[in-house]
């Protein structure tokens, strides 16, 4: 019975997120799932952290792995967390399915200094191509049909950048991945998954 999540199983986007996080910092992981990122950060970077998760399977899994987790609905905000109490607040592959984007992103930078989000990049060429052919896109990072998708706020890498600027925030690092690999050429076209690190201006 191995209770530590093996690090080689860390999702590729989480591995990149982990690289952006300084050792011995405090991290709040929103929608933390089974706690893989926090478990990894604790073991490899002496990070002190908490996860927030609504799904009981994820919560139970976090607890089993010794990851601090608070069961809560992100849509109701982070009122349980003190302002400026974290170095990083991470929201991975969750933004696109949330109702109040402005609210949650502002909450992230209320409780933390640095925000990190990952989301499916709607600008990825396969998505564009399917729309050109008159269909709602279904791709690796958006694996749902239009009628059963939980995603209600899809955006492109550029869109998110503009969103940050409009809210007096700025990107401090960004990266796109495709099939777990970093893509350096034409990121908004070639990357299916976007990672953005941001702060207040």
């Amino acid at each position: 019975m191995n209770m530590r999540l093996p690090e080689q199983n860390l999702r590729p986007d989480l591995e990149r997120v982990a690289n952006w996080i300084a050792p011995a910092s405090r991290v709040l992981d929103l929608g933390c799932g089974d706690g893989a990122l926090l478990s990894y950060l604790r073991a490899e970077k002496q990070v002190e952290g908490y996860g927030v998760e609504i799904d009981i399977d994820g919560v139970a899994s976090c607890i089993e792995h010794g990851v601090n987790v608070v069961q809560s609905d992100l849509e109701s905000g982070l009122s349980g967390f003190e302002s400026n109490s974290f170095d990083y607040v991470v929201l991975s592959l969750t933004l696109q399915s949330m109702r109040r984007i402005e609210f949650i992103v502002q909450e992230m930078l209320r409780v933390g200094r640095i925000g990190i989000v990952t989301f499916p990049n709607f600008g990825y060429w396969q998505n564009r191509w399917q729309i050109l052919r008159g269909r709602m896109p279904v791709s690796e990072t958006i694996p749902y049909e239009w009628y059963n998708t939980p995603n209600i706020h899809l955006c492109t890498l550029h869109d998110f950048d503009r969103f940050l600027t409009a809210h007096k925030m700025r990107t401090t690092a960004q990266m796109v991945l495709h099939q777990g690999r970093r893509v350096n050429v034409l990121p908004n076209l070639m990357g299916s998954l976007a990672l953005v690190r941001f702060e207040f201006e």
Partner: protein, 380 residues
């Protein structure tokens, strides 16, 4: 695991006598007292696997197992404590204790006062959660337990857990606070006072010295318990279980039992008032009312928890309105603000406050997961 649902089997209560006076919150002392307790599982060589179970208002030391083969009911938390169960007696040395002031064997209002040879009655001091924690710590000393792997309790038991972590930060590795609150609300105190008034105004109460009149304020205690029971269940849960069901199927146009819920409450009240001590009930509700660890830190719970070293698991239940999830979240927020290790689970349940004694799958799963982790930590 084939023994997932097996029991600790037959158990025997034990008794510890204490002759060093225990200073109490009210300024007095309890000069000598006894505490009854039960243990399940084995204390390991490192003495690191002890778990203390703190009981709620009407609970006691009989947490798991049966006293004899004919026993109809096992201990009050037999679903949670036993070999292969979430509080796994294959790994943990589990201690159940009857709190002082109780009526199940530990010194309480119905015990004989050595000074008079008569039951204490009204002479028994009002105790607080802090007093209980101090007395439990003495029992732990007696049993050779310096530090608990976990202290666990629901409701009033959860308050003791919280107090343990504050009073003895070095003696609690894990604190499991279930369906509890950092202090009672006005509404909660109000319910308790109605319960107390029912007892205090019963003509058989005799100012608390009913024992010498060979009677007991059963009517008052019965009402108190009936009221309590309503607050332990959720509206939905009660509706689901009883609805408007009539015992005879039609209206009788009288005041006898007609609705099933009436029958249930009266039965619970009758049964309880026959076995529980009214003074203990008063004392327990008062301990609930007084509990407020932040009282010493300018009503700042975060500060009250500053020295705490335990890791916490806080659990609440969605339909619990007596100790609602909001109250548990206050504890969690204070722990987060104090930068303590804490996990919080809000279990979907229809069972109201009573859910902490039930076996909603998510609840059992989380308890099992947390305690498995604690057990693994012992082996390192």
């Amino acid at each position: 695991m084939s023994n997932h649902y097996s029991s600790v089997g037959l158990v025997t209560a034990q008794r510890a006598e204490f002759n060093v006076p225990l200073p109490l919150a009210n300024g007095s002392t309890l000069d000598q007292y006894e505490m009854v307790y039960e243990t399940y599982g084995e204390l390991n060589a490192a003495r690191s696997n002890a778990v203390l179970i703190c009981h709620a208002l009407s609970g006691n030391h009989h947490v798991a197992g049966r006293y004899n083969l004919d026993d109809k009911n096992p201990g009050w938390w037999d679903t949670m404590v036993g070999p292969g169960k979430p509080i796994d007696t294959n790994h943990f040395f589990v201690i159940g204790v009857n709190n002082l002031g109780g009526c199940h064997g530990s010194t309480g209002p119905s015990s004989l006062d050595p000074a008079t040879g008569q039951p204490y009655g009204s002479a028994f001091p009002v105790l607080t959660v802090e007093d209980w924690v101090h007395s439990q710590a003495r029992l732990a000393d007696r049993l050779g337990v310096d530090r608990f792997a976990a202290v666990i309790g629901g409701s009033l038991g959860g308050m003791q857990v919280l107090q343990w972590s504050i009073t003895f930060p070095d003696r609690v590795a894990n604190a499991l606070v279930i369906a509890s609150a950092p202090k009672l609300s006005a509404q909660n105190i109000a319910f308790n006072d109605v319960a107390r008034q029912a007892i205090l105004t019963d003509p058989d109460f005799h100012g608390g010295d009913f024992y010498r009149h060979q009677t007991a304020p059963r009517r008052g205690l019965r009402l108190a318990r009936m009221l309590g029971h309503i607050t332990y269940l959720s509206d939905d849960g009660m509706g689901e279980k009883f609805g408007r069901m009539l015992r005879s199927g039609s209206y009788q146009y009288g005041y006898d039992v007609e609705f099933e819920i009436e029958s249930y409450l009266r039965y619970q009240g009758d049964r309880f008032s026959g076995v529980f001590d009214a003074n203990t009930y008063l004392l327990m509700t008062k301990a609930l009312d007084y509990f407020d660890p932040a009282r010493h830190t300018g009503h700042n719970l975060t500060q009250a928890l500053a020295a705490v070293k335990a890791r916490f698991l806080v659990v609440s239940f969605t339909t619990d309105w007596r100790f609602s999830p909001e109250r548990s979240r206050e504890i969690v927020k204070a722990l987060l603000d104090a930068r303590k290790d804490v996990s919080y689970v809000e279990v979907e349940s229809v069972h109201g406050h009573d859910a902490f004694l039930m076996t909603d799958p998510a609840y059992v799963r989380v308890m099992r997961a947390y305690l498995r982790r604690v057990a693994e930590g012992l082996q390192i």
